[in-house]
Amino acid sequence: MKNSGFVTGNEAVVLGALAGGAEMFFGYPITPATEILEGWVNAAREDKNLKYLQTEDEIAAGFAVVGAILAGKKAFTATAGVGNVLIQDPVSMAENERLPFVGIVTQRGGPSTGTVIYSQQEVNLTALGGNGDGLRIVYSASSVEESYLLTAKLFSTAWKFRFPTFLLTDGYLGKQRITISLSNPLKSYPASKILKEIPGKPTHIRNCYGSEAEFAKVLRRNISDYKALISKVSECEFFKATDASDIIVAHGSVAEASKAAVISLREGNVEAGLIRPITLRPLDCRGMFPYLKAAERIYIIESSFEQFARLVLYKMPEIADKTIKIFKPAEGFTPKEIEKTILERRK
């Protein structure tokens, strides 16, 4: 593979999936995620070991991913918006049966068909969707290069810990084209057979149980396994946060704009900093909390209505009193706008 490439965020996802050892893709076109399907189809033209199916809908795509995973292959899907609603059905099965489902969610505006390019409104559904106690791992990329690196990582995280694993991006990220490094620092964790194919010693996998007590035992084990992975999986970027009086907490594209705002605020002698969760679920609370505790003011900024803020404040209620919530559902933020807002709120 080349060391660098002039690629879009969606193309970076395809390259990241290949670096992560993905073998199969199932999907249905939806803006702004479509180029991931197209990119995979083109990759499969060059490498005959790669397989794909453009399914009849996202439900079928998700269940085909589940079927391929049960057969021991690293398979994934990419979707957005109402397509994300439809994949909750297969993802819920993957949660129940602890299958390493991998999904890319290129966020668009909602509810409903909403808008087609940008939002951060798919946090709730991706992080907490499904019926029952959804246990998933959710990453959020803030750059094209990170779309590449995190997609590669998704497959290792999913297959190692056996929980459905997602990457959130958005259409602005997916469609911008820049030169990025294409080195993959992570050695890919291998897939393995889930159905063992040994007659006489059959593998029987179900998601429906006869008694509450029997099912509760399964769920207790899943919750315990999830708690144990938090310190191993959760990630956060700290940017000038050490001595910061004013800390922005943001993820994805908004965090990228916030970083530029922090640089500008620092030039104006405001001790600003940024904390950017790379995993929204689980959150790296242990890493974040000391900085947030020491800060005078905290700004949670997101292109949605209190979806990300709810995740953060639920886990760290102690910071709620000094937190200023800045929501622009379905709209983006410029660095200037963030800088101006913070200067106004500090008065």
Partner: protein, 250 residues
């Protein structure tokens, strides 16, 4: 399966799962016995993976001595499609009820038939939703009583009998194998099961509707169950649904 051995249960049965979870007299367990017999006769136990839907079919989650996966309602077909694409040498068999096949999962069934995905699929038609206690299904016949058609299924509002294989035939690739069988005739049933498996191993989609009995929800005894099945067979003709004259996609 050996004559008079193990109460004539197929060798590929998982004895630990017996007695099974199916109601006494259930037609689906009759079908599963014939499926097991065919798997024994064909000596393909080491190649089979079974996928089952929600509804009564989920009761077979540990029925056999080979791998079984239980999926969501109406989603057994796309799961089988993904599995088969990943493990081309395995024989994947998908079983669903008339709700999974003809209501919630019809879209996936039709598209798998249309694409000619090499999987073998079975729909159990007992004219109602049994696991939930006997509600109206697409396959419920005109004037038939169910808990959601308490005065008899009104054809004007809900349609008459749903001819699944005939519909699937219209969408399916001309090489696909499409048939209807009944638990009333085990010889024909086993022949059709064999052909449906053979279709997959020669690279084609196979779909079989199996007419079956539900004494529990029909509230029938043995004679009454088979009398009702006889009525069904007049509306749902047993046999192979022949190619529809479309040009072969080759």
């Amino acid at each position: 399966m050996k004559e008079n051995d193990r109460f004539s249960m197929p060798d590929c049965f998982n004895l630990a799962s017996k007695p099974s979870l199916f109601c006494p007299g259930c037609g689906q367990s009759m079908f599963l016995k014939h499926l097991g017999s065919v798997i024994d006769q064909q000596k393909i136990i080491d190649k089979i993976t079974l996928a089952i839907d929600i509804g009564c079919s989920l009761l077979a989650w540990n029925y056999f001595d080979f791998d079984i996966i239980q999926t969501h309602h109406g989603r057994v077909v796309p799961t089988a499609v993904g599995y088969k694409m990943a493990r081309e040498k395995r024989i994947i068999i998908a079983i669903m009820g008339d709700g999974g096949g003809y209501a919630i999962g019809l879209q996936s069934l039709l598209h798998a038939a249309f694409r000619n995905n090499p999987i073998t699929t079975f729909v159990m038609n007992n004219t109602e939703y049994s696991m939930t206690g006997g509600q109206m299904a697409p396959t419920t016949m005109s004037k038939e009583l169910t808990t959601t058609s308490p005065e008899g299924k009104e054809e004007k509002l809900f349609g008459g009998a749903f001819l699944g294989p005939e519909l699937v035939r219209q969408a399916a690739n001309s090489d696909a194998y499409i048939a209807r069988a009944s638990v009333s005739n085990p010889v024909i049933l086993e022949t059709i099961i064999k052909k449906a498996i053979l279709a997959q191993t020669t690279g084609n989609f196979a779909f079989v509707e199996v007419l079956t009995i539900c004494p529990t929800n029909w509230k029938t005894d043995v004679a009454g169950s088979f009398e009702f099945l006889g009525k069904m067979e007049k509306i749902y003709p047993v046999g192979e649904i022949i190619k529809n004259g479309r040009t072969k996609n080759k």
